[in-house]
Symmetry: C2
Subunit: 131 residues, 2 copies
DNA sequence: TTGTCTATTGACAAATAGTCTATAGTGCGT
DNA sequence: ACGCACTATAGACTATTTGTCAATAGACAA
């Protein structure tokens, strides 16, 4: 039984277990734009992207890799990004993703939306503080 | 129609096709905290809350009332808010909601999360602008 | 060759959100 | 009284998104 249930313990050091009782983010829909931003800086594969998500507040201990992989596949199906296999790297082959013009366009739109969302959150916080 | 003015024009004319092609918000999970903030200022019923959501970026033309009602019922089931019927008002009876201490507690937590989300959005936007 | 680490994928369940329709009281015009 | 428009709430059903768990597989070290 390869892999097995418990924890696959990724990352250096001794087996880290992805926590039980993982908590849902309270605001969602943030994963894809984060991936697109990272990819707009440099290409990357699933695991490396997973680790970089920490910069945007994703607790990488608690993020399941399959969420990232699924988001990547979805975006590839949509034609926003494309991938090729990298066989030169250590260990198993990696599927390396690159952003496409369509992806950049979507990211641009998304950035506009996120600016609005940020403003809306701010106005909610202000209202909250008045009380 | 009291206060009406801008009107919600819901159901316009005879049929009540609410706007076709309504678009999804790209970041979700924002409805309940908004309702809680509004309720923490003053009690309100479904329709009045729907109209006030505009302040937080909800396009009230495109928000289906049933979403608001459902969120209110869920939060009442969870013990965050409570309601009573108001029969004195014009027109049909209104179910008027008030926030409870539990709801305030949840709102406080939520506000903390939203501050984080705002910061994360900001850091994503900064990263985006670097490119 | 066995076990461990990196890497990717798939199946399935749970939670959330979105659409459409039904019900009902009120007040107005005729 | 009757029908209509408007306000208000509720329910059923669908779609989409997230979250969990488990399977697969190559590389490498002991």
């Amino acid at each position: 039984m390869p892999g097995g249930g418990g924890g696959r313990g990724r990352g250096g050091g001794g087996g880290r277990h992805r926590g039980r009782g993982r908590q849902r983010r309270r605001v969602r829909g943030f994963l894809k734009p984060c991936l697109l931003v990272i990819l707009s800086q440099e290409e990357g594969h699933g695991y490396s992207l997973l680790d970089q998500l920490g910069k945007f507040g994703f607790d990488s201990e608690r993020s399941d890799p399959s969420l990232v992989y699924r988001a990547l596949r979805d975006m590839e199906d949509a034609g926003w990004i494309e991938s090729h296999w990298d066989d030169d790297s250590q260990g198993p082959k990696r599927r390396v993703y690159q952003i496409l013009p369509e992806g950049k366009a979507h990211l641009t739109e998304w950035v506009g939306d996120l600016r609005n969302v940020r403003d809306e959150i701010s106005s909610l916080l202000e209202t909250y503080e008045e009380v």
